[in-house]
């Protein structure tokens, strides 16, 4: 059974997904970071595939992308690093990246490789639903990869229903009209949006991301959904860290405690 399906079957709340950029802060940190995330108690790992032009990302993730590329990270190298993934990590792992590097690798070859190393799902924010359905869905399905679409506060109800129909795994709720990056507090407007989507009783579970950074925002997001995704704030931890294992553990424990 796909690990994402398994997770959501067993756990219905306070699911924590952690995003990091492959190749950051150092080229060879990938598996070290993933092991530490799992050991600290997070439920899902999202590996960001670095890209030169990440248009949905704020300064923190832009910089981590740049540094990773300067370090020499490529999709090919990432798959090599992940060849031992399933000997070290047992929780669900998702690849998140912009479409161009994936298309250059070749969608079929990419999906095949994902399956081979033990990736469970994909998030490709600039892959339009229409293209996904007409060109790629069959490939995703053939390699048992879950596909997650995003929604935002501006997404119309009808569109959310469509997305729910074609997503499998979970729906990624972008918390506000915004690119990625840590925010101050969750506003009443955001809470109203969380509740509005919750009341739609979608087929898929919902995780809230963008602007979730600490224990209070994780708790608030979790109270209105199945859990949350933390990216930029975690990247900041990695950037400052002199002891990855210790700092990752402290940060994640601080959120889950």
């Amino acid at each position: 059974m796909n690990r994402i399906d398994e997770l959501f079957k067993q756990k219905k709340e306070r699911i924590l997904s952690i995003y990091f950029t492959a190749g950051f802060p150092k080229l060879g940190d990938t598996l070290t970071i993933m092991e530490a995330i799992e050991a600290a108690g997070a439920d899902i790992i999202e590996i960001g595939v670095p890209y030169s032009d990440p248009i949905a990302d704020g300064p923190t993730i832009q910089e981590s992308n740049n540094q990773a590329l300067n370090n020499g990270m490529t999709l090919k190298l990432l798959f090599e690093q992940l060849s031992e993934l399933r000997e070290k990590v047992s929780i669900p792992v998702i690849l998140m990246g912009y479409l161009n590097p994936v298309v250059q690798y070749g969608m079929e070859a990419f999906c095949k490789k994902c399956k081979e190393v033990g990736i469970d799902g994909l998030i490709l924010p600039d892959l339009p639903m229409q293209q996904y359905l007409s060109e790629y869905k069959e490939i995703f399905d053939a390699y048992d990869l879950r596909n997650t679409f995003l929604i935002s506060p501006q997404t119309a109800e009808e569109r959310i229903r469509q997305i729910d129909q074609h997503t499998d795994g979970f729906i990624y709720m972008v918390s506000s009209a915004s690119i990625t990056g840590a925010k101050k507090e969750i506003t009443p407007e955001q809470l109203a949006y969380f509740e509005r989507v919750k009341a739609m009783k979608l087929n898929n579970p919902r995780l809230i991301g963008f602007g979730i950074s600490d224990k209070p925002s994780f708790q608030t997001a979790s109270a209105h959904s199945h859990g949350a995704i933390i990216g930029s704030a975690f990247i900041n931890v990695l950037r400052e860290s002199s002891d990855l294992k210790k700092d990752i553990n402290e940060y994640i424990q601080g959120i889950l405690s």
Binding site: I55, A56, N66, Q131, L150, S152, Q154, I179
Partner: protein
Amino acid sequence: MIKVDENGFYGQFGGAYIPEMLYPNIEELRENYELIMESPAFREEFDSLLKDYVGRPTPLFLAKRLSEKYNAKIYLKREDLCHTGAHKINNTVGQIILAKKLNKKRIIAETGAGQHGVATATVCALMGMECTVYMGAVDMERQKPNVERMRILGATVVPANSGSKTLKDATNEAMRQWINNPVDTHYIIGSVVGPHPYPEMVARFQSVISAEMKAQLKEKEGRENPDLVIACVGGGSNAAGAFYHYYNEPSVRLIAVEAAGLGVSSGKSAATTLLGKPGILHGSKTLLMQTEDGQVVEPHSISAGLDYPGIGPVHAHLFESGRGEFVAVEDEHAMQAGIEVSRLEGIIPAIESAHAFSALNQIQYEPTDVIIINLSGRGDKDLDTYIKWGNY
């Protein structure tokens, strides 16, 4: 036939590869732009502003000394005489009226050389709308007068500090700011790039160029169609406008001129059709200069307006289908052509447009041919570059 399909594709190129956060904005535009553009109220306001504010129609000028030198009948479409000094304002006038009809309160734009930024700041001042222009920090340094022009016009100029700090990064930043302000803001893209419907919409606003060419050539030569139309291509908005009404006239050769920079194989070039392969940037599938790993490569051209790693999807399709002929001109040759046009015709062209003139040295044609070169902008903004180059 060169025509966009309902999903925004020209052949295999185009589409709308955007994060879901931008979907409502793009959908709003896609649903409304044709209705608005075709409404009599819009047409009337657009035509009137093009005439009385921009100064259209721009002349079609028979360049006698250039014709003599190159042994053909060469006409210049004088877009350099548009208000603000280039064709860019045709599009910004159209989009600002559209933005008003969509009840938008703020305008954002990206700019490379600053021409599109100035054209946007200009129409925002005209319409009393708030304007923010994103510009690569490197471009802000090398195009200082245009930065100040935008500020004089009341716009806020924000440096893009990511990546190479040039046009590509300014476009990324404008898209991010649109994600952050999805409801009250319209993004005026300056070229035939970006997600559908932008490439087609911008081409239609610029198509006034070839509409006028047809009428003017008919008057002068007794026929609407020249044998060749030559235009430079960065993203490709002036070329799209100059080619638009000739796409489906097979007797008209369409010559698109790219910037070869220091040479196509020098690693410092912007000749996308020679160096690129299909990829996705800024919301559309097009030819794109990129690494094997799919990372976008930094282009180079002496002309900031051609310094872009992609090309409008319609041009990618012109290239792939063979309908367009693509030529790449090196920095040095473009500069020489700029000086030559200055000396022969008393017109200092923008360095972008100088590339189009230089193509005359690379293509075959007959002495009986009628050629229209789209003189997309004037060289005032490039004086520093001409002076630094120095060979005149």
